[in-house]
Symmetry: C2
Subunit: 215 residues, 2 copies
Amino acid sequence: MIGTQPAPSRSEIAGLIRNEPVQARSAARLTALLDAAAAVIDEIGYERLTTAMVAERAGASIGTVYRYFPDRIAVLQSLSARNADRVTGRILSDIDDERHGDAMAALHGGIAALVDAFRSEPGFASLRFGDVLDLRPAEGSPAYAVLAERIIEALRERFGVAEHKDLPVAMESAIVAIDAIAARAFARDAGGSAAFLGHGPEISAQLVGEYLSAR
Amino acid sequence: MIGTQPAPSRSEIAGLIRNEPVQARSAARLTALLDAAAAVIDEIGYERLTTAMVAERAGASIGTVYRYFPDRIAVLQSLSARNADRVTGRILSDIDDERHGDAMAALHGGIAALVDAFRSEPGFASLRFGDVLDLRPAEGSPAYAVLAERIIEALRERFGVAEHKDLPVAMESAIVAIDAIAARAFARDAGGSAAFLGHGPEISAQLVGEYLSAR
DNA sequence: CCGCGATGATCGAGTTCCGCTCCGTCTCCA
DNA sequence: TGGAGACGGAGCGGAACTCGATCATCGCGG
């Protein structure tokens, strides 16, 4: 067995990693490698990322990269998993920390947090939730589905939103759609085209609005 | 100059191709190469496609692949351009050939045609309109924008939809969103999850419905 | 508190595989 | 039958990935 520490080491990233870090410096290495990958991606795109670039930028050797990741694709997947974790955290904290009057307002705050991540989370605009990478067979539930479930949970706790069998798929559809529109908004306009971004809240209202009245 | 034939050789694919085919067998080769690429993509995904695989499957040599395409990315881009052409054609013909009573019904027919392409157009589920490839600088307007413009045009001709400055972006947003949801619907379910697909028409009604009343 | 073995972590030269070129050969057409 | 179009495939360069030697850290017995 590995990692019997109380701290629940970063959720699903583990599955993509070869050797769980044991010593402290090792965890720092992993972070440095992912940071380096994010920087490279922001500069030249993930298609052109090479493992040598990642190694050099992290001040490590190629061997070290392959100590942590089975292959180049796994580096990208790990980064997108970390990004998904971080952005999910930002969205959830916006949803229940802010002073939102109702569930719809909270959800719109979450959308704003998602859009902001395109600007401020390194590599996010390219990789997003990783579901864009067409790796086969892609086991496990997609990051979108996890995010949808957690948003619903947060809204239920704070605003008493009722359960409904169609809500999870509706919420995931809204997230997928808004994420795609945001990607389009940032594709040609580094600041994010407001004309596209404006349709995000509209979609969420249409798809999940009917479920968000308090229980 | 190249290709002075009356037939307007496949729209924008040309720009990605090294040598326009002159002899008849050569055009067949090009088709075979793209068909082979589509088959490979459906099997192992475009990330893992190699030029050698394309050559072998098309019964050609590597040299022949590079006679037609400058590099591997161009193969993917050509295929997505061909797919975009074909699917755009299908959507437009559904919009104005069928017996739709109004613009909204016609648009929903177009959406159905798009969804159908995920099932029946080889390689489309992975590459779609090519905007998923993160090649830098990505010049030219995205295929989504072109499709949006042509749909608007078709609706205007048949149903007298009025011009509106916000309609192109709204239409493109709807297409991007529906395309993303369809991709999600087919990602885990080869037949396309109906629960996700059902949200397509809903989104189009929300985003462009207000513009679709006759002039 | 100090060795000191065991295990984790790192390095980088070497191997393999893939993208792509080059040029000799073959095919088509006038 | 000459010339241009089309094709094949060995070979080159570079990127992905391996592997065994070397260094760092930890735990433990003295």
